[in-house]
Subunit: 234 residues, 2 copies
């Protein structure tokens, strides 16, 4: 399996995908058929508009990206693809749309088999975990299940945010939310800070970018994981 | 219908429910059978521990509060109750547990008929809307639907948070999230800031507390609503 699981498509003060130019170019080098999955619709933009945005960036990287919805049969399109990028937005809408079009199983299988190199950012990364149970998004639609692509044996929390010092807000911190998740679920949760990504290859998984990741395990204190080789089944 | 729909049980620097002493006392005055619904389990605490916490506060207000789970038949318990307080915590867990015990329909009907005076805070307020589609919580469990008690013709967003000035975080603001909700849903959303609550009586609805509320309507710019009488079907 080859996957690039990115916390955010944008870091502060930098344009869309700009900080990821090198890893994206290397990851999708020599791919013939790259598909974009625009279903998360950030800000409610259309599939076409979102695809145009991503394709423009990819073109600047020398990569040709086509929207999966441009194909008459989206399942068939997956069969001839060797790369997929799923953009961020709303995780519930993304997962529900994948289920609506019966794409969860074929996409997951094609990535697991190594046929498709998969890159996701934000919501697109969330769905690589066991479930979307650790998304930060609003449940604007109701998917038939929270079960996701299950490429990883863990859950992802993208845009992981440390508690804000001296905050007077009484809503739960991200860490409190993930702790509540662990009262009802067992899987580990990787909190990926903005600027971080996981690079999954057949023989090694590495945490990339300048930050440590925060690993939450049920009934254990969270720990910080340094960039470099990591063990997802820790 | 009589309902007290509270954004948060705690405001910064003040103990649990303390700022609500006067309205809670007045709202539940002369009630004989007050039930607590502890299903939202903040921080994963048990139903018993959560009930003890709320009952202690209510006792200090001169009110006798019993956990709904202390009754053998929870639906039957609702029939003889004249007041219910649903505490905050995780909205998905709260709604799923209500559905698991077939309590959504009888609770909703008893509040709508005026038999039960209903107070909710945070997650307990979220479920008074049409759906829980504007909760801030993590989807730690999967309820069979997002449809909620539907006491109100709108949705609630508790702990409403204004954008943080100069934030470098790239995750969506609350307002962006609610805008995304409106790309898939039509109902108005009331953003209740911490310290605010709606007081619903048969003939009048008022916004209480020191803050304005932020009202989001599909395809319209959000507006600020001043405390005082409000129109939920605006």
């Amino acid at each position: 399996m080859n996957a690039l699981i990115v916390s955010t498509s944008k870091i502060y003060g930098s344009p869309y995908l700009a900080y990821l130019e090198k890893p994206v170019k290397a990851f999708f080098k020599d791919k013939r058929q790259l598909l974009f999955i625009p279903f998360a619709r950030p800000g409610g933009i259309t599939w076409d508009a979102y695809t145009a945005l991503a394709a423009e960036k990819f073109a600047a990287f020398g990569l040709n990206l086509k929207g999966i919805h441009e194909f008459e049969d989206m399942s068939e399109a997956l069969k001839s693809a060797d790369g997929v990028f799923t953009g961020g937005g709303n995780t519930f809408l993304l997962l529900k749309t994948l289920y609506d079009h019966n794409l969860v199983t074929p996409l997951s299988a094609a990535v697991k088999s190594g046929q498709i190199a998969y890159m996701g950012s934000s919501a697109g990364s969330n769905i690589t975990g066991l479930t979307i149970g650790t998304t930060n998004d609003m449940p604007i639609v109701h998917p038939p299940t929270h079960d996701a692509l299950q490429l990883l044996p863990v859950n992802i929390n993208p845009h992981y945010l440390d508690p804000i010092p001296d905050s007077t807000h009484m809503g739960e911190t991200r860490e409190q939310r993930i702790n509540e998740f662990h009262h009802c679920n067992d899987q580990h949760v990787w909190g990926l800070r903005e600027g971080s990504w996981l690079h999954v290859r057949p023989d090694i998984v590495t945490l990339e970018g300048p930050h440590t990741a925060r690993l939450f395990r049920k009934n254990q204190a969270p720990i910080e994981i340094a960039p470099g080789e990591v063990n997802l089944t820790l």
